[in-house]
């Protein structure tokens, strides 16, 4: 179980997160929705300390990080329990697809090379890239790179995988293959927190939906509740704009 308590984050005088409380049960797939600047990506990056929260507490099962006074070791442990899939993929540019997945296993998990290799090959096959093991990121399409990114995250057996708008940088044509992979691993019971703009995907895959605006959680609940019967005016407004009924009119 992941529990965020009163997470606060400011950039200079701009308060981006105004005390976020969120609980994610094991095996849950949480989609975080919201307009740009609502703080959803910052919240996600706070969970693995790529962004340092100013205040609050992050707990994963029995492990706690006090964000007021975090220990360097705690941050490291926290990162060991989480994995992240980035909007811009951020694959290691000087390493092949296989090496990208193996890197964490060898350097962080200290697995023997053979074992790391075997596990990485399996994972790349799982995301449909068994034939691209030796390709460098620059030789792969955006969708392929993102699937390597997902395999790299999966390799570490994290308690939770954080997806930061995993399809926002992709050609519309390539979005499907990445969402397909995420959908597939969601079914395996891995805990995931996904920041996304893909409404139908969130509705379909998420077990819990969080709507954020202005640095606070406006509303959260089951996808059916949020999408079909939102309580808050701001949520209604957002969903109406982003999922227009019927045809588009110009």
């Amino acid at each position: 179980m992941i529990k965020l308590t009163q997470i606060r984050k400011s950039f200079g005088r701009n308060e981006v997160l105004k005390g976020i409380d969120l609980t994610v049960e094991k095996g849950e797939v949480v989609a975080i929705l919201g307009p740009s600047g609502s703080g959803k990506t910052t919240l996600l990056r706070c969970i693995n300390y790529l962004e340092k929260p100013n205040d609050g507490q992050i707990s994963i099962d029995d492990f706690n990080v006090n964000c007021k006074r975090p220990d360097k070791k705690d941050i490291h442990t926290l990162r060991g329990k989480t994995a992240m899939v980035f909007q811009q993929y951020n694959l290691f540019r000087h390493k092949t697809a296989l090496e990208n997945v193996m890197e964490g296993l060898i350097v962080v998990k200290k697995l023997p090379k053979d074992e790391a290799r075997q596990k990485s090959v399996e994972l790349l096959e799982k995301v449909g890239l068994g034939s691209k093991l030796d390709a460098y990121p620059s030789e792969l399409s955006g969708g392929q790179q993102q699937r390597v990114g997902i395999a790299r995250a999966l390799a570490l057996n994290p308690e939770v995988i954080l997806f930061d708008e995993p399809t926002s940088a992709l050609d519309p044509e390539l979005v499907g293959e990445v969402l397909g992979v995420i959908r597939k691993i969601a079914k395996e019971g891995i805990t995931m927190i996904i920041v996304t703009h893909e409404m139908s995907f969130a509705q379909d895959v998420a077990s819990h939906v969080v709507f954020m605006d202005g640095g606070v959680i406006v509303e959260e609940g089951k996808p059916s509740e949020i999408f079909n019967d939102p309580k808050e005016e701001r949520t209604k407004q957002f969903l109406k704009r982003i999922t227009p009924e019927g045809v588009y009119s110009i």
Binding site: N48, R79, F86, R93, K95
Partner: protein, 236 residues
């Protein structure tokens, strides 16, 4: 004036004996300079307290003074320092036993360190911030991320500038003659004093420098090909 081709050849052969000295000075200064430069670049980028202003002053002072001045300062200053320390600790070592080339090694390493810190710094800045974030996200420590992810990419990005520095240090090694080290130019002068054919001797020296530089350029091209293998698909 008639050019004495035969003597160019004679001088050329004799100058070859000084090539190892020139290469040794270049290799030592480049190697130590790269170590100093990397440390300085990392200190400056991470703004390490206390060390950061020292590193910045080092770079501006060294780049603000000629390489020959560094050599003379080290040549006249280092013995005073060494003897003072030896005396204070009651050691029998004295500065007179330092070989002349030692002064060149020390001073040129200090020179190279300042210039190379900027080469390494630009290489580090060329590495996308997302790379280190991804390294942190998979649980690496800062030093693991630097060693395995950032520095290899920074090195590949700084190769062209690095080759410039190596060539600069090779040509700079000629200054070692001021502290009586017989490198290529000094050797040319010695060879020519027998018959006053300085032009021929220096011409032979020029050919040697050009040949070595050409080899450095070729090696860099090969290294670039090898280390930039991952860029073959274009922008990622």
């Amino acid at each position: 004036m008639k050019l004495d081709f035969a003597f160019i050849w004679t001088a050329f052969l004799q100058l070859l004996t000084a090539v190892p000295t020139a290469l040794a000075i270049t290799a030592v200064s480049v190697f130590c300079g790269l170590l100093i430069g990397t440390a300085v670049a990392v200190i400056r980028l991470y703004k390490v307290p206390i060390l950061h202003p020292i590193a910045a002053s080092y770079v501006t002072f060294i780049r603000g003074t000629p390489m020959l001045t560094h050599l003379l300062l080290i040549y006249f200053g280092l013995p005073i320092l060494v003897d003072a320390i030896a005396e204070a600790f009651g050691l029998s070592f004295r500065s007179v036993s330092i070989p002349m080339i030692g002064f060149a090694y020390v001073s040129f390493s200090i020179t190279a360190g300042a210039y190379m810190s900027e080469v390494v710094r630009s290489g580090l800045l060329a590495v996308n911030r997302g790379q280190i974030e991804a390294a942190y996200a998979i649980g690496m420590t800062t030093s693991q991320a630097m060693r395995r992810i950032v520095l290899p990419q920074a090195f590949a990005a700084s190769l062209p500038n690095l080759s410039n520095s190596v060539i600069g240090m090779l040509h700079g090694s000629t200054l070692a003659f001021t502290v009586s080290v017989v490198e290529i130019n000094a050797k040319a002068q010695i060879v020519a004093t027998t018959n006053w054919k300085f032009f021929e001797a220096y011409l032979a020296a020029a050919i040697i420098f050009w040949a070595i530089t050409f080899m450095i350029e070729r090696l860099t091209a090969l290294a670039e090909k090898r280390f930039n293998l991952y860029n073959r698909g274009g922008v990622s």
